[in-house]
Amino acid sequence: MSRPGERIFRLQHRYAPYLFVAPFVLLFCTFGLYPLIKSVVLSFYVTSGPRSQIFVGLDNFRFLLEDPSFHKAVVNTVVFAFCSVFLQLPLSLGLALLLNYRMLRGRNFFRLCFFSPRLVGMVFVGVLFSVIFAAPYGLLNVSLHGLFGMSLERVWLGDPDLVMPALVLTALWMFVGFNMIYFLAALQNVDRVLYEAATVDGAGAFQKFWHVTLPSIKPVAVFVVVLSTIGSFQLFELPYLMLQNGPGPDEAGLTVVMYLYQNGFITGDLGYASAIGWTLALGVLVLAVGQMRLSGTWKKEA
């Protein structure tokens, strides 16, 4: 290979990064920035069509604050996010701890097994579980009936009080195994030396867990928490498919993104939909940054 001249060499080095990120920047400006800005503009209008838009300033946002459906959507979404983080993650961690047992046989089998639900996409999980929760012959009712003699008539997805538990259960099924992988990897990377030191100091199993394990896996834990939170707030496809393309009885399955979709694509007011979207985005942003700041892992360095 011939040596290129020194000057070309340095030029290459200087301009290469710009070229490398150029595709991303280009695509982003077209398909990211332009629609984003357009939807910001839209959020200040009430619209019913491309030529019938009326500027209303902040009125969309003011109405949002009073809109009971929006409140319902926010409550549903927050409840779901809360359950996702505080139910799923301890379970994932627990499962990872179990799998981390050194002499365990068949670890690969279990790992594969727990991970498999994640492979089924959210769309298909929605379809599958809409049938599992169906009454009276869905899997759940049949099992409960067979094991505990419970009624076959319980309509999980038709009862406003049971919709959210059904959604949470489905999400649990889907994600506990997935997050467990992260935790398992983290656990397996904890320095053995620390444990030995702790044993020498006379620490019991629980203390080892509290003082060695938890701090060591903190970065991964934060990563998982933030990811779960962001993901939960964007929940749409799962309830949409499980509840047959609707918000469910008494809007029990209405999430913020679903409400956005309804307003934008069913009612046709893209302005209001954009306002909802931006409110959600700001909320998620604040929450995520807050979480990272709180756990001290927010790196200023880019």
Partner: protein
Amino acid sequence: MGKLLARTLLYAALLFVAALTLIPLIWLVACSFKNNADFFAYTFFPPPSRLTLEKFVGGPDVAGLFDQMPFLRLMMNSLFVAGSTVMVQLFFSSLGGFALAKYEFRGKKVIMVVMLATMMIPAQVMLAPMYELICRMRLVDTYLGLIVPGAVSVFGMFLFRQSMLQLPDELLQAGRIDGCSEFGLFWRIAVPISRPMIGAFCLIAFMGTWNSFLWPQIILHSKLHFTLPIALNQLVGLQRQDYGVLMAGTLLSILPVAVLFMILQKEFLSGLTAGAVKG
């Protein structure tokens, strides 16, 4: 002995959770091979003599999956769209991640902040303006209309940046001294070393596109262009709900991803965990 008890409990717990995890999937398989009458009669599998393929290919008085939709075509659509998207994403994201990891240049901070911000914004905000854009570019109802907007993977860029930060600078310097072009550094050094991360990313990106629903539903018009999620949603229709056919369709739809995962298990899991631990 205490230890024996503990171990038994451990295995019992693990097996219990494994059962809970697998049962819906087993049920999915079972329902795909039962006829309507047996659907209610047997919880899981009927006796082997009663297994039937009629949910797939149709029976004397039952419209099967393949009767109701051109399934092979749909599968190919999904495969093509998901595969192409992954290829494009892989190339651009790894290139971009490499630049972000190993170079200092003006605007780098801006880009990173912007990237972070976009990950928090629900894509649905941009649905209608994006649709308008795709229309203007005459990409409606085309595969490109699905692939091009999806060619940007911010998640991927972050992933690759993280992994390539680990790349020893000396290696790159040595490459430069050897007369390697900057792109060559990327192609010949950075990429081969990042293979685990690439494996993980590929599977995640593939799964993401394979399962995407909302955007394809809006963009794709003709039945022959549909991807599997859209086609399946049509079965969850207002009137004719045949659970067996629905389950059969779901089963076939998740098979490719499952097979891909089986083949690439080790790569994927090691790449994923490497990324997570460092991240």
